[in-house]
Amino acid sequence: MKNFYRKVAFGLGPDEKVPSDPLEWANNQLNNVPEFSWKGKILPEKELRGYYREWVYGDRKVLRKKFKNDKDGYKREKNKLRHATGQKFWWNLELCIRYSEALKSRNPVLAKLWYFWGNHFAISEKDFLAQYTTGAYQREIIRANMNQNFEKMAQEATKGWSMIHHLDNEQNIGPKSQSAKWAREKGKKRGVNENHARELLELHTVSPNCGYSQEDVIQMAYIMSGWRPEWGKKRLETGDVHFDPNAHQPGSKIVLGKKYKSGRKGLSNAITDLVNHPSCREFIAMKLCRYLITDNPTKEMMEPIIKAWEKSDGFLPEVHKAAIEVAFNYSDQYNKFQNPENWLLQMSKMADVDLIPSPAFMDLYKIGNKPIRDQRALEYLMDELGQHPYLAKQPNGWSDISEDWMSPELLIRRLVYAREAYYKKSGNSQTKEFYEEMIEKNYDNPGEILKIIGQHRELVHKHVILFNLPETLRS
């Protein structure tokens, strides 16, 4: 049962007592969305998008023209522009904010679920979104809505600038719209781009289990046509998202048998219907169980979560509590292979690893400068571990399937970074007694584990073995 603390959070740290009521401990973390525990600077998405705009405009409209015959000059100036727009710094700052929630806040359970939702509404690797805005999107749209109904999160994520740009909805133009007509007069073809519409159905709400057709996808794309960033010569594609009636496909549309009128309200209405479709809650219940409990969730596991959803109208704190309770009930039967990020955070929490640079140190950064190496430590580390949270390869985010995280190189990373982490621990946690207490607190079979790691004399080796035992790799 002690794996419960690792299953739904990151285990118990050295300063934390074993809660007398584990469920109460977890549930108390889920009602509110508190302030961030990170005490350094936190920039709004809009400001970060401004830096992104300077980057794309400066690169595309200025440097490419200026240095057309000079490859090296182009590279040099492009590097300057990177630093002038903070390209190498912001995502490191975002990682500090993100990991503080797991390691330093009073609500690590909320943090683990935050990572789940960030990955559910994933912004995958595209352009330079990761370096500038993905972290902020996950703060302002995902985490900020974790005490709301699922519908609110879905509405805001769908119409958020990051998602609209990530899934090309700016290129989704109704073929019978005014904009398409104007384009035709100039000899250009404009039409529907189904990308975002398909992912809204497949990945974000009802999933293919609901049985929608290709025609539903196209109709959904028509509903979404016109939702795009406000274009400007200097803004390029980084303007605020608005509804452009000129690019909207006229006429009513039908998705999953329901009719939607032409216009701005169509998308909001369609999302309301999608999130209330039974397939949506089944899909999300399945994904929550897969994230927390097992690759192959059973109907019995999903049922209480679906019920909580129905009773609360998709109110996320209630949905989360139901999922946590299921995880608790199955904690002795199932262990879930942890992805690299969750593994790292567990190790850092339980073994008191100094993972995150201090706010004061990060705030030393000045725009225009190249960040110093230690300010970029997290970016390197996550890349090395094979799971930078803002660089998922596809819109379906990082995998929740164990097999995808098992390969020789990925395992090697856990071996070598367990050792690296040991040397980032404070001196008073580098004692035998510290480990004994930590193992006692966090594992159900402390005697067996102590015996296994007792076969090695040096503490650093004990540490490496402990964090690569099946008991740790699976929680």
Partner: protein, 385 residues
């Protein structure tokens, strides 16, 4: 170019002859054959890598990007002058090109295109496995894949237990610690983990002392070549080369597109070195999401296009050739008036290659890996069957 009916009959007669007389062909047919795929990300410019000779349309539209001192391959096509290693292969009948080809994707997004080049599908993100993984599954090649990358690339998904190699910059723990973990995994019935720990433990002894290896593609390729050479080593390897998206300063011989092509060329060289004589039983293919526009842009770069080229190397090639159904570069011959057209579905090349290397009937690959899509069997034209 077309294979004649007569040739076809001759071919089948030989096969029948061998089969009927119980000829000792085993030594030949049971040879371990390797397939290597190099993914060129960003949109490889087939016309920069393998320019057409003496086409006025081409010269006019790209006047600042025309290469000096190209290497003449035949009367119609030349080779980028920096592709020296590939040219060596070509001269030894170990190099060939398919030109004016691409996956059936025309929308020009890297994001979608790279997904489709790996899945082999038509709708981005609708398929969650790779064509190579599905092909390996059909050939029952579990545990035979090697990715020279840290995350397992999508193209290999569809078959479990692939290996990967992308050396960590840190030293591995000592072997006895690895052996201990391996025995713990085995005791706890964690067989997959135990197998991987075995691979890791072998690696640690090999590296003796653990001097960190370079992650440059040229050194990864040397390592891959040595592994593929082993009779019980992997049979499939996958590489990644980035940086083909040259919107600006694509330049000529020393431009940025050349840098990426040179990296690709270094893989050919190191693979050949690592494989030694086993290059004879190996086929190397490149893969990209699309080609680039014919016309240069204002930044002397090129934009996303459609048709590109496939580089092929190894002893399983039939001969050195530029295989193409050339569509021409006149405005009306271009795709949407701007891009080199694709007249050969690149998946036909990949399906034929898998058929030849994995010894599986083309039709089965077509049906089970590519959903029965209309593909041509090019095995006899391109490869030793």
């Amino acid at each position: 170019m077309k294979i004649s009916r007569r040739n076809f009959l001759k071919g089948s007669a030989t096969t029948l002859f061998l089969a009927g007389f119980n000829f000792p062909v085993l030594a030949n047919t049971s040879k371990k054959k390797n397939l290597v795929v190099i993914m060129l990300r960003g949109g490889m410019d087939g016309l920069c890598a393998v320019p057409i000779i003496g086409d006025k349309n081409f010269e006019k539209r790209r006047k600042d990007l025309i290469l000096d001192k190209t290497i003449k391959l035949n009367s119609d096509f030349a080779l980028h002058p920096k592709l020296k290693n590939f040219h060596n292969l070509w001269q030894n009948n170990l190099g060939a090109i398919v030109h004016a080809t691409n996956i059936p994707y025309t929308k020009r997004s890297h994001f979608d295109g790279q997904n489709l080049m790996e899945t082999g599908g038509h709708i981005p993100y609708s398929i969650k496995t790779g064509w190579l993984g599905r092909g390996m599954k059909l050939a029952e090649l579990k545990g035979d894949g090697l990715a020279l990358a840290l995350p397992m690339p999508l193209i290999l998904r569809g078959i479990p237990s692939n290996d990967n190699f992308y050396p960590s910059k840190k030293r591995l723990p000592r072997t006895e610690l690895l052996q201990l973990l391996k025995s713990i995994y085995a005791n706890k019935s964690e067989h997959d983990l135990a197998n991987m720990m075995e691979i890791i433990a072998n690696r640690s002894t090999m590296n003796n002392g653990g001097t960190s290896m370079s992650r440059k593609n040229s050194s990864l390729a040397l390592k891959a070549g040595l592994e593929l050479k082993k009779i019980n080593g992997p049979r499939v390897a996958v590489f990644e080369v980035d940086g083909f998206d040259t919107h600006a300063a694509q330049g000529g011989v020393n431009g940025s597109h050349s840098d990426s092509l040179i990296e690709m060329d270094s893989i050919f060289k190191s693979l050949e070195k690592g494989l030694g004589s086993e290059i004879e039983n190996t086929l190397v293919l490149t893969l990209t999401e699309f080609g680039r526009t014919i016309e240069q842009n204002g930044g002397r770069g090129t934009e996303h296009g459609y048709g590109s080229a496939i580089f092929m190397a190894g002893g399983l090639l039939k001969k050195s050739q530029v295989y193409t159904d050339w569509p021409g570069l006149k405005k009306k011959e271009l795709f949407e008036g701007r891009d080199l057209n694709s007249t050969i579905d690149a998946r036909s090349v990949y399906a034929s290659a898998m058929s030849s290397v994995f010894d599986i009937e083309f039709k089965r690959i077509q049906k089970e890996v590519f959903w029965g899509d209309k593909l041509q069997n090019l095995s006899e034209k391109l490869f030793k069957v």
